[in-house]
């Protein structure tokens, strides 16, 4: 059993190691499993094997022989290659390769960001903010089809305010015929209203900063607004 499992783990080693020492390594595990019977011994064996795997595996890949080749004289007219040297890859070349990869990746990301594929997301920060703050159903670009008459402000709740609090969070008073639209707290819809003159907003709110927004379907005259006593406007940044 141990041997079969280790045979699978052995596949993680580089091929040159497996070719040269695979059988010997398996035999060693087999002999240890034969000589160390019992639960504790078996546990210790596997602990040793796993620790050994973690230590030796990276080392073997670092030591893996590379085969730089160069074109040699054609043999019977066919192209052939000649082994020049054996040794690990030069670390400076690895670093250079990594650096080039990073630059290439950055160039790709930049070109995609500047392309016309996602203009509203990357060119207009306001559009991105809009997507983050609103539900996707309401995520319409303000430049194209923005709801008219949007109110948005930051408020600080001094304590947790339950939805059944005596005072509503906000009350908006609109002139007749009232206003229609949605109210959002931290980007989540808390109320959808239609033709309301006396708009009362209630929700469960934790203590701390919150972003409130009211989006109206069409212009409406806001006569006044009152707020819960446990609310304060955020200080200007």
């Amino acid at each position: 059993m141990s041997e079969k499992l280790y045979a699978l783990l052995l596949k993680l080693y580089p091929s040159h190691f497996r070719r040269t020492y695979g059988d010997e390594a398996l035999r060693l595990v087999r002999n240890r499993a034969r000589d160390e019977k019992g639960f504790v011994s078996g546990l210790r064996l596997w602990l040793d094997l796993l620790v050994d795997l973690a230590i030796s595996l990276p080392r073997e890949y670092c030591k893996a022989p590379t085969t730089p080749i160069a074109a040699a004289e054609p043999v019977n007219g066919d192209p052939s290659f000649q082994l020049l040297a054996e040794g690990s890859v030069n670390p400076s070349l690895l670093f250079l390769g990594g650096l080039l990869s990073a630059v290439l990746f950055w160039a790709c990301v930049t070109s995609v960001a500047r392309s016309r594929t996602f203009p509203s997301l990357f060119r207009d920060p306001h559009s991105l903010q809009w997507l983050v703050q609103s539900d996707l159903a309401l995520a319409r670009s303000p430049s194209e089809d923005a709801p008219v008459g949007a109110y948005s402000f930051c408020m600080i709740a001094n304590r947790d305010i339950p939805i059944n609090s005596v005072q509503p969070l906000f009350v908006f008073y609109f002139a007749p015929p009232g206003a229609s639209g949605v109210a959002l707290i931290d980007g989540k819809i808390v109320k959808i209203f239609k033709n309301e003159q006396h708009l009362s907003i209630r929700a469960d709110v934790f203590a701390g900063d919150h972003q409130f927004a009211v989006h109206l379907d069409k212009p409406a005259e806001n006569t006044s607004m009152s707020r819960n006593d446990d609310f304060e406007f955020c200080p200007p940044k």
């Binding site: 020492y21 060693l28 595996l57």
Partner: protein, 116 residues
């Protein structure tokens, strides 16, 4: 002065060289010998053992003997390893270094007990 191969000598390689100082051994026997000479503190796993053996072979500190049948299992042929003169020189140098360290530790009365 050119840097010596395997400098500093890894613990696993040192223990393998020390194990081979007495006799030619195959991989499993080396592992057992190392376990014994370190009072059970070091049990070389297959990856470390054979990785170290390859490094020592490449540095000519040990050599591989012709594969021979194992006494307790004639169907299996095992590779035996033998210390070379360069390997013996290296392990002797390492042990002398340790002995010097031990002398200093004794002089400073860091060690206690009759066996030291």
């Amino acid at each position: 002065m050119p840097k010596r191969k395997l400098d500093p000598l890894p613990s696993a390689a040192f223990n393998i060289l020390l194990a081979l100082a007495g006799e030619d051994l195959h991989g499993y026997a080396i592992m057992r010998q190392v376990e014994q000479q370190t009072c059970g503190r070091v049990r070389l796993g297959p990856g470390t053992l054979y990785g170290s053996l390859r490094t020592l072979l490449e540095a000519n500190f040990i050599k591989e003997l012709e594969a021979s049948s194992d006494s307790d299992d004639s169907s299996e042929r095992r590779r035996y390893y033998r210390l070379t003169s360069a390997g013996l020189k290296l392990v002797r140098s390492e042990v002398e270094g340790l002995a010097q360290t031990l002398r200093i530790a004794r002089a400073k009365r860091i060690l206690r007990g009759a066996d030291v």
